[in-house]
Point group: C2
Chain length 494, copies 2
């Protein structure tokens, strides 16, 4: 056979994909269904599978097949698939097993202790564990950087955003910093003149769930291949054939669960529309975390919080929760477009969100590259928070650098994806509007089919066939830049 | 190390146990949570894992370790564990992979077609598929019988009930046949004099679920390590640390879901109380399908449908569903102890149930041993059904030999477990009553703790440490016999 090595690889990766299926479903179950007593056994079972997956992926034969397949006769998609296989193989085989295990243990320890350290504002205790995590992450970054020939931080960035560099991020984020703080200040000043009527609960959870399901249906979620459930931290999990999204309900707060559902539905539709013909192969997977985030923010921010969409959503809200003053058209829109800079990233609106991300990016880059130490974090956090949002986090670790768990497991390099996603989303929405005459009036009529078809054609169906740059250039005619995000924020909020 | 081979085995079986964990949870999910679109991918993922498990278990090294471990210095529990390892290894390694695969395919095909063939009463279509299943099961039985030196049917029986033989079953069932048909006739005649008030629905499903949960709590189910959900066919799944039971609700029928829950809670408490110190090892697994069934029938029939338990249950029923005439104490007891011989096994009461089992046992034994052919089944079924229950199934395949799916996947040898379980349950309850003075009054007061402690001491905590015979002799002072089952039925129904 002329592409015998490539065929061996596709069989191996299909097998890995099937094991990933089981791992995804068991993880989803862990966060949604599992009673506490199942935790230890589940952790051991998942770890055992993870060891197996690592062994299969890093087998010497896989490396040999990858080398030999380079000279086989492969079509475009197969070449893209081979490139992705190579990437997965290299990422997995670069690290010695002892380091992977040590990192996993240090991460679990740090995250577990964080649960009580955060409420106690215990920076001393937390930083001791974090130092171990950072030490191991630096070692990981060093090994990856040596192989790739780049800086340590860029080597971690590449795991989440292939081909993204901090040089490029610096340009993109410098641009953001040149206009966003002023825009934010203007929006805050403008909104200070407005009056808002907050929605009055309670909003029964069963009814909130119905509204969420109806909204998912409006947004084209395929319930034949997915579910909506509850978890402490909302996520989109499962597998492309069976996508599991979650939300969390608060009886006093209707909109956080609802827009959480809209956000996760964006992730879900990407997964549900990944190419089925290459099923089980790396080329059929989502392109990157930033492109994934761009889809959820496209749904939540570009579409979901637009005036037109909010108007279409309102009758369903009235039908279930009556027509209190907060649910007048004007107030409903205004309330969903409030901008309120605050300490907590996950509660942030889309105007102040980038502040949280750029702040963390700058700190984690310096940390991984060895320019600062863990002990330097609180002062830097306070300084940057003051500069961006005028908020002090001095001695307030729990609402500062201890507010979330992204760093506890060594997930350095992930944070930029959030703001890259917001910029991609704005650029994609702009391109869709150019490509689709009458889009705005279609949306106002509740017809999103052309918009979703455009996403399917331009993003979803390609999986990982193209690089992120190619993908975005083909879809929008240019590479990523922040102009459309600025344009979007200006037109919506000023 | 003095027991190095044994240690290798324990590591291998622990690994297998972790993979079984994932397989159990993914299977549970398939029956309770999974949307239809996930079906094909899930099937492939589970099959891939099953191939892996088979490879690990039948690895040549496992055979070598098993041989070498025989002469190592092992304590009692380790020896029992080694015996169980040996049993798993032999069962798995006896069959060529091609036969396992062919059987799995033929079973899926037969079961899938059955779903439309049963409503259409299509025996011709069904029997064509069943012939293939029987052919492959006979081949399996032949291979197992050769290795074990027994008849083909006994070799299949041994998978579910280690050490049980058809010679022994013939004695036990001949005894049943000597008294049960007459007892059944007497009960039917006696109950014909009684009047019953059927409960009037609708009984809202959410309230039925609450009652089920309260009943599980009464029965000691540990919700820290388990759940109650819904599936088309009720089952007890999951893992000992996280036991997942299911039921199905009918708005018009309160009691079928409720007693389904009681039944599955019996299975669940066995699983939840298996020995944790040997976790992940074969010796920590449940003894056999008949012992498992004995625990569910102990809960459902011995305890659950007793006058004392029904009286304790009634206030919870009143609290949720009011006090209609059917819920008078007298009628509630009578209704839950009705005996109504019918065509369908899964709807049968405990007096007529053995008829369904013995009938199938006699047919499947003859079929596997080659004494009859698939074409002979309907006539035999009709003849035996007439003899036991006075019901004709001539041309009524859908309520005769096509009523359930036990045979479609080649599960021959399983059926006897149901009636063995009923006999074990009666014998165990009798022994518990002897061992625990004041048991009846404790039950009447709703205090089941002594009873459950007795089960824990005598059955649950032993896992597979002893053979079924040893286990039952230690618990009751004698080997299995049908006297206590007869005594139980006589005292409850005559």
């Amino acid at each position: 056979m002329e592409n015998n090595n490539y065929q061996q690889l596709t069989r191996t990766f299909q097998r890995l994909s099937r094991f990933s299926h089981l791992s995804s479903i068991a993880s989803w179950d862990m966060f949604t269904m599992m009673p506490p007593g199942g935790s230890a056994a589940r952790g051991e079972a998942l770890a055992e599978l993870s060891v197996l997956q690592h062994q299969i992926l890093t087998d010497k034969k896989v490396g040999e097949w990858l080398d030999a397949a380079q000279s086989e006769n492969l079509n475009d998609v197969e070449q893209a698939n081979l490139r992705e296989m190579q990437r997965h193989y290299q990422q997995a085989s670069l690290l010695p097993e002892a380091l992977v295990e040590a990192k996993s243990l240090a991460g679990s320890k740090c995250e577990h202790a964080w649960r009580t350290q955060r409420p106690a504002n215990d920076w001393q205790g937390f930083s001791a564990n974090l130092k171990e995590v950072v030490k191991l992450s630096r070692e990981e970054a060093r090994l990856r950087a040596e192989a790739k020939g780049c800086t340590p931080y860029d080597a971690l960035l590449d795991i989440f955003e292939p081909d993204m560099t901090s040089a490029r991020l610096d340009v993109l984020f410098a641009d953001l910093k040149s206009w966003l703080p002023q825009l934010l200040a203007q929006v805050v000043e403008k909104q200070a003149q407005q009056s808002f009527v907050p929605p009055q609960g309670p909003f029964p959870i069963a009814t909130q769930r119905e509204l969420g399901l109806e909204t998912m249906t409006m947004l084209g979620f395929d319930f034949n291949g997915g579910r909506l459930d509850v978890s402490a931290h909302p996520f989109c999990g499962g597998v492309p054939e069976d996508v599991r999204i979650t939300t969390r309900y608060d009886e006093e707060d209707l909109l956080s669960a609802l827009f959480g559902v809209v956000h996760e539905t964006g992730h879900a539709r990407y997964e549900q529309n990944l190419p089925r013909t290459w099923q089980g192969q790396p080329v059929a997977l989502a392109r990157s975390t930033a492109i994934h985030e761009s889809q959820s923010l496209f749904f939540e921010m570009q579409l979901g919080r637009s005036n037109a969409f909010l108007k279409k959503l309102l009758p369903a809200v009235h039908q279930r929760f009556g027509s209190q003053a907060a649910f007048s058209e004007e107030n409903f829109i205004a309330w969903n477009q409030r901008v309120k800079p605050g300490y907590i990233r996950v509660d942030a609106d889309e105007v102040s969100y980038p502040a949280h991300v750029v702040l963390r990016y700058e700190i984690e880059r310096a940390l991984i590259n060895g320019d600062i130490e863990v002990d330097d974090i609180p002062a830097l956090w306070d300084e940057k928070m003051q500069a961006w949002l005028g908020l002090s986090t001095k001695d307030n670790y729990r609402n500062g650098c201890m507010q979330d768990i992204h760093w506890t497991d060594g997930g350095f390099g992930y944070f930029p994806s959030y703001t890259l996603g917001a910029m991609y989303a704005a650029q994609l929405f702009h391109a869709a509007r150019n490509a689709l005459p009458g889009l705005d009036s279609a949306i106002a009529e509740g017809d999103f089919s052309a918009l979703f078809d455009w996403l399917r054609q331009n993003i979803w169906q390609h999986g990982s066939r193209f690089s992120t740059s190619q993908l975005i250039q083909q879809a929008t005619g240019e590479d990523l830049n922040s102009a459309y995000f600025r344009q979007h924020l200006t037109s919506r909020y000023l």
